[in-house]
């Protein structure tokens, strides 16, 4: 090595050392104890506000990280412990999977706090094959309902009335839809659930301990199979059409080409903006009440809170502070949902949210056990096969096949 090379080597080493020293000091500065929260974009502002209020009263710091909602669940399993969140926002139907993966920690809110929540919201976040534990603090509830354009149709009180009104509207003009409910190629078991439950179908039964039993599948239950021929009738008369996907359903309703739309509170603003006069009701009972799936959103403490030595702080924020009526009001309003806390619920003024609340009566929380992953595509697929117009499969056959497939997958 000649002199030039020696100088160069020295320079390289010196520069590298300086940069590394700076990086090292930055690394050390990050180590101050802070609570990391993963939230979706809709709730970011509200979460930041609530978390900061709490942090100020407790003398700690929070770091709110925005992620896409679904990614919160998926990334929690793969994130490196150092970057992992201590608290996440999540949907109740993630509970089983996250708990089975060992990624979330059980919570023990005070008895007085728990009293302020409807039992189903707490059950929705509870999971355990042996001992049932609460894993989430419910914050907001949501469900779909039947949105009626009151200028185009009368608000039906019975199923027969709805069927008549919807078909009459459809025949008025080509391009009109009877009931706009989204399915598409791969189906949508969530939006079809009112029709499914209305015919006596269910997803998982419960065992004697009151837990969901993945071996008791009601996709082709006796009650449903008995009335399945009604689905074939709906398909024939075009009451429900699998070829309507999310975009088609929405644009049809907004353009006045559908008087009935099965959707949730996330579309309230869209309908208001289109200047449509509407009311929200539960789909009228078919042979049984046509109840929707209930969704509960809330906050969970991850297993990483203990790793980061902030578990006490995380539990305090989630099981204590976020369950108070004040925090619930803020967090639920953030994305236009009804708060889970009943005390907070009393202060809700939005008439449409109240109507969606009424449409939830008798509803069934989406099963939160991990086996639910095997259900969505098959149940949605059965609806598509039975309601795709000409060439459709008989409903009783399609749902029996789906039931078999689900049982096979769960094993």
């Amino acid at each position: 090595m000649n002199k030039k090379h020696a100088i160069m080597a020295v320079l390289v080493v010196a520069l590298a050392a300086i940069v590394a020293a700076v990086a090292g000091s930055v690394n050390a500065a990050v180590k101050a104890p802070t609570l990391t929260i993963w939230t979706d974009a809709d709730r970011q502002t509200a979460v930041t506000q609530v978390a900061n209020q709490w942090a100020a009263s407790r003398g700690v710091q929070v770091n709110v990280v925005q992620k896409q909602f679904g990614n919160i669940r998926d990334d929690l399993g793969t994130v490196a412990a150092a970057d992992a969140p201590d608290v996440i926002v999540g949907a109740h139907d993630w509970t089983g999977k996250l708990a089975a993966n060992g990624l979330v920690a059980p919570l023990y809110p005070k008895a007085a706090t728990l009293k302020q929540f409807p039992a189903y919201t707490l059950n929705a976040f509870s999971y355990g094959t042996a001992v049932k534990k609460l894993y989430g603090a419910p914050v907001a509830v949501e469900n779909i309902g039947l949105v009626v354009n009151t200028k185009l149709a009368k608000v039906p009180t019975t199923w027969a009335q709805l069927e008549k009104e919807a078909l009459a509207f459809k025949h008025k003009k080509s391009g009109n839809l009877a009931i706009a409910v989204q399915q598409g190629t791969n189906g949508d078991a969530y939006h079809m659930y009112p029709f499914f439950s209305g015919l006596g179908g269910y997803v998982f039964g419960k065992n004697h301990a009151g837990n969901l039993d993945p071996s008791n599948i009601g996709v082709a239950s006796a009650a449903f199979t008995k009335h399945a021929s009604l689905v074939d009738k709906w398909n024939k008369e075009g009451l429900i059409n699998a070829k309507v996907d999310a975009t088609t359903a929405q644009s049809a309703f907004l353009k006045g080409q559908a008087a009935f739309w099965v959707t949730g509170p996330w579309n309230i603003d869209t309908i208001k903006k289109a200047g449509i006069h509407f009311r929200v009701i539960q789909v009228p009972a078919i042979v049984k009440p046509a109840v929707p799936f209930l969704g509960v959103q809330g906050f969970m403490v991850t297993k990483y809170a203990a790793t980061h030595d902030v578990s006490a702080a995380a539990q305090d924020l989630v099981a204590n502070y976020m369950m108070t009526p004040a925090a619930q009001t803020l967090l639920a309003a953030a994305n236009n949902r009804y708060p889970a806390n009943t005390v907070a619920g009393k202060s809700v003024k939005d008439p449409y949210l109240a109507q969606f609340g009424k449409a939830s009566v008798g509803g069934v929380p989406m099963p939160n056990i991990p086996q639910m992953d095997s259900v969505w595509s098959d149940l949605g697929g059965a609806w598509v096969k039975a309601t795709k117009g000409s060439g459709a499969t008989k409903a009783s056959v399609a749902f029996k096949a789906a039931s078999r497939s689900i049982a096979n997958k769960i094993g």
């Binding site: 090379h5 080597a9 320079l11 390289v12 080493v13 520069l15 590298a16 050392a17 300086i18 940069v19 590394a20 090292g24 690394n27 104890p33 407790r58 003398g59 399993g77 999977k97 708990a99 089975a100 993966n101 060992g102 059980p106 005070k110 008895a111 355990g128 042996a130 001992v131 534990k133 190629t185 791969n186 189906g187 070829k243 309507v244 088609t248 297993k303 030595d309 006490a312 702080a313 539990q315 305090d316 099981a319 204590n320 991990p370 086996q371 992953d373 095997s374 969505w376 595509s377 697929g381 096969k385 795709k388 060439g391 096949a401 078999r404 497939s405 096979n408 997958k409 769960i410 094993g411």
Partner: protein, 535 residues
């Protein structure tokens, strides 16, 4: 011809000598500027390595640190030594090859031999910890307390407790519960606000410094039951339902004495009962065996495989044929608006595939799509198994044609006009000229691209997932829909297996796919070589 060779040295005098840009670039890097650039770049790479080294050392990843040091030292040697000129050009490529190809492949192979799936995500020690935590239950007469950590006169950590139901005050230590004088413990909205003077409440940020101690702090009550702090203002009485014996590595259920032992596949089991969560561990070739034996995986495999081959082959050949046809059609000299035509034809290539595929899905909607409505058709494009396949090929051809149009256009220019002229002189018709001269020459140039395109379409997840989502669903217990290709089927296996995700099985399938694609491409390249020899 000869005349041309003779006149060649007579370069127009106005044009001064300018070496190729590559030669100039090399020259620039040899001077002082080059030296400075080199020092800065090398320093940056070393600094990056040093920073990464700190992080790795911090997390105790010693093997990775060793690799990092070795790699950095090698890079420094390559660029500081005078004898390593070829390596200087090779090194960056090798770095990227290792980083973006070899490491992911090794990782995939590694995962394929594990049980990584729902319920098997964390490590075994974490799983044991988690099982202990979730198997706690509230005894029938469980009491809840408002709690505040405090220091006694000796500075020892204790819990000041106020029972929610009765308002009685206690002090809890690791030995047990001691009552405090009535009314001496007061609670407010934020927890306990006052305690007897003997105890100093821990407040503010200091509270959170106690986290690790609070996690393990238990105040024993009756039998197994103990009061455990939850958060910083609450404590609850809980008792374990399972006991872990570290020596035997088993969990025993307290109620019935049932013993759960490590089944070697990442779970504690007793008969059919399994404790959640399990952990991630190596399970040998189990995933590969289940591809062969699990009817859920095996049944659709051949059907999906056949469709994948057909889809990729049809896409490549149709696109190539159409692209070539268009290129020849627009190759005519002196055609008007030639550039405009060419630009329009390349447009699909310029629009992001994600968008155009979604637009196609809307256009092809059976009842409401533009295609059926405009042409007054009622073709079930997306809802019939066979038509959905046609739709997939249609869209992927639409997306691929511009590529082959560009390739064919370029390749046509490179075919010497003399050869075609010679064929014409020899009396060959247009078809014969194309078939005997243009096409063989074109194929020599484009065959590797055809193979690459085949490999790409073999794994063209976007078209399938965004257009049909693999649907329409097939009967029976099929995870795979009618238009699922191997990679989208693998994805479904990975996300919608019995209990949610099964990454281990999905990676095993993707390794099989890799082997299939590698074999087909290998054979194809070998055939191409023969083609070149014929030339």
């Amino acid at each position: 011809m000869n005349a041309h060779v003779v006149t060649a040295p007579a370069v127009p005098p106005a044009r001064t000598f300018r070496p190729a840009w590559s030669a100039r670039a090399i020259a620039a890097f040899s001077g002082t500027t080059g030296l400075a650039v080199k020092i800065v770049l090398l320093s940056l790479s070393n600094a990056l390595a040093a920073w990464a080294g700190f992080v790795l050392a911090d997390k105790g990843k010693w093997p990775a640190l060793g690799v990092l040091v070795l790699a950095t030292a090698t890079l420094d040697w390559i660029y500081l030594s005078k004898r390593t000129l070829p390596l200087k050009f090779l090194a960056p490529g090798v770095v990227f090859l290792v980083g973006f190809q070899i490491v992911p492949i090794l990782y995939t192979i590694n995962v394929a031999f594990t049980n990584y799936s729902t319920g098997h995500v964390i490590s075994k020690p974490d799983a044991i910890q988690q099982i202990k935590l979730v198997s706690l239950e509230a005894p029938p007469s469980a009491r809840q307390y408002t709690m505040a950590p405090a220091r006694d006169h000796g500075g020892k950590l204790v819990l000041i407790l106020r029972e929610d139901a009765t308002g009685n005050g206690y002090v809890g230590t690791k030995e047990g519960l001691t009552p405090l004088p009535a009314g001496s413990v007061k609670a407010g909205a934020l927890g306990i606000v006052s305690a007897p003077a003997d105890y100093k409440l821990v407040k503010g940020a200091a509270l959170f410094g106690l986290d690790a101690q609070l996690q393990d702090f238990t105040v024993p009550t009756d039998g197994d039951s103990a009061i455990r702090p939850q958060g910083i203002t609450e404590a609850v009485e809980l008792r374990p339902t399972l006991r872990y014996d570290a020596k035997r590595d088993v969990f025993t259920r307290i109620s019935d004495g049932k013993v759960f032992h490590d089944n070697g596949r990442g779970s504690f089991v007793s008969g059919k009962e399994e404790l959640e969560p399990g952990w991630k561990t190596y399970i040998g070739a189990s995933n590969f065996r289940s591809i062969a034996s699990n009817p859920l995986v095996r049944a659709p495999f051949l059907r999906v495989f056949a469709w994948t081959i057909f889809f990729a082959t049809a896409t490549v050949f149709l696109s190539f044929a159409i692209g070539l046809f268009l290129a020849i059609a627009l190759d005519k000299q002196g055609m008007r608006f030639q550039r405009i035509y060419r630009s329009i034809l390349v447009l699909p290539y310029a629009i992001p595939g994600f968008l155009s595929i979604l637009v196609w899905a809307g256009l092809l909607n059976d009842d409401f799509g533009v295609v059926n409505r405009t042409f007054h058709l009622s073709v079930p494009w997306l809802f019939d198994a066979n038509w959905a396949k046609v739709a997939c090929i249609l869209v992927s051809v639409w997306l691929t044609v511009p590529y082959f149009f560009l390739v064919a256009m370029g390749a046509l220019q490179s075919i010497p006009a003399e050869l075609i002229e010679a064929a014409r002189v020899d009396g060959g018709g247009p078809w014969q000229r194309f078939r005997r001269v243009t096409l063989p020459l074109l194929l020599v140039a484009t065959a590797p691209l055809l193979i690459a395109s085949f490999a790409f379409n073999f794994n063209n997840f976007n078209v399938i997932y965004l257009l049909t989502g693999g649907g329409p669903a097939q009967g029976g217990s099929n995870v795979a829909g009618a238009t699922d290709i191997l990679i989208s089927y693998t994805y479904k296996l990975a996300i919608a297996a019995g209990k949610g995700n099964d990454y281990g099985l999905a990676t095993a399938v993707s390794i099989i796919i890799f082997l299939i694609v590698a074999t087909i491409s290998g054979i194809a390249f070998w055939r191409t070589k023969t083609l070149e020899e014929i030339r």
